[in-house]
Amino acid sequence: MKISREDVVRVAELAYLDLSETELETYRAQIDEILEYIGKLNELDTANVEPMAQVLTDDQTADATLREDIVVPCGIAAEVLKQAPDPEPPFFRVPKVIER
């Protein structure tokens, strides 16, 4: 077994994700099977391989990633706040996080 029930509980906690008892067991079994399959990567010796985080080369992104850091107002704050479940313009309201 690659992944235990406790592992799934710990990971769901890290991801702030409520899972029911049924979900916990279903996902554990399915993810266990997937991890078993993923284990085939160990057939490959990658000791001298550089990891690839993304495919673009430096020359393809050189002039794309650097720009002047200038504030450009987009003027949609009111529209953005309208999408919030509990807005109090100009703020988003959340449950209390600091105990007095």
Binding site: I3, D7, V8, R10, V11, A12, L14, A15, Y16, L17, D18, L19, E23, T26, Y27, Q30, I31, E33, I34, L35, Y37, I38, K40, L41, N42, E43, L44, T46, V49, E50, P51, M52, A53, Q54, V55, L56, Q60, T61, D63, A64, T65, R67, C74, I76, E79, V80, K82, Q83, A84, P85, D86, F92, V94, P95, K96, V97
Partner: protein
Amino acid sequence: MTMTWTIDGVREGLAAKKISARELTGDFYKRIETRNAELNAYLALSPQRAYAQADKMDALVAAGKPLPPLAGVPVAIKDVLSTRGITTTCGSKILEHYVPPYDATAVKRLEEAGAVILGKTNCDEFAMGSSNENSAYGPVKNPHAMDRVPGGSSGGSAAAVAAGLAVASLGTDTGGSIRQPGALCGIPAMMGSYGRVSRYGLIAFASSLDRIGPFANNVKDVAAILQTIAGRDANDSTSTTAPVPTYADEISKPVKGMRIGIPRDYFAEGLDSGVRDKIEKGIELLKKLGCEPVDIRMPHTDYAIATYYIIATAEASSNLARYDGVRYGLRVDDPTLLGMYRKTRGAGFGPEVKRRIVLGTYVLSAGYYDAYYLKGQKVRALIAQDFRDAFTKVDAIVTPTSPVPAFKLGERTSDPLQMYLADIYTVTGSLAGVPGISLPCGRSCGKLPVGLQLFGPAFGESRILQLAHAFEQAGGASI
């Protein structure tokens, strides 16, 4: 049979005043009204915006002014792309009532080119799936066989075009989500190179893999849509400044003498015999067109699915952290902040999304990062190297798009790993960042569409469009 419109057809119709853009828009909404209840391809319609745009195009015609390249062309947009004022759900309950305050760059560029946005198309939740059965709003049906899946995750965009409910559409492709539904629905479907099209306004799934691309009824239209959305955008730092050729000029260039790589690793076990038969006939057709087949090896193909499901889920677990019930979407109340996060996410996400968040968080977590995530990134480098090596020997690579034709609804939903394996021929190109197109290549057992996939080198879109166009003109679709 409803008439199949093309971009050229719309242009000629408008220019000759045979039809107005408003009439054409109305005609497409009638088609949608008739067919969408059974197909479930559209999740939201945007008639107000569509007719306003159509009227603008009709005013240009009336004034005798030049028409933009996509004037009056009715298009559909996958529901993971932001559309100002039009509900954008990502096929998820967590964004059920979300109305974006801005347009994705690709959407904006289509509209600036004159296209008429009919509405938003159904998809697997957050683009995670290969059958469209992971949508919180029900599956899309395959227009060729109503008891079968259209493919996924861009199932609605594929079905809408295949059923004549749009002239073209946008989808997104992370591991095959444009090409595979294109294959299963029997229409051309393309993803450009990573960096070719701006993702600004695309709601992220896996940022090192996500790409936006077109579905249409023919290769010329695919090229025209790609042309419109391609190119640098200051709002997306991963969109490159690599020059965008004029694809309409490129596609008719001769293909004689092109070397096409046939990777035997893609014709191994698991390939349906009906699909294999058509792909072999497709290769014969390319030979007749003067292409020279070259036997090549891509030795890390067999590791692509495992690599993909590490990298894609890791990135997804990070990208989907933003759904926390604070700024948009669903909130499930709880007296504590963390409790509110947990309940909101537990109630708002569907099973496949939760499964991937758990897997992605796990492969990134302390103690497992090196064994899974880092390992995955290293094998990704080997897969990308397979492609670079191949493109020193050949101009393009030919493979099946999907190992099987459209499968039955419900057939694979209980076994996620089996569903993942449907992406076996598409994820390789996703990991390598190269462009790919799927083309209709006959029908398996005379019934279900088969897709032939062409890969080109990075930023070599012209070459595969050329081959695709020649293949189509030579009757590849009815092989």
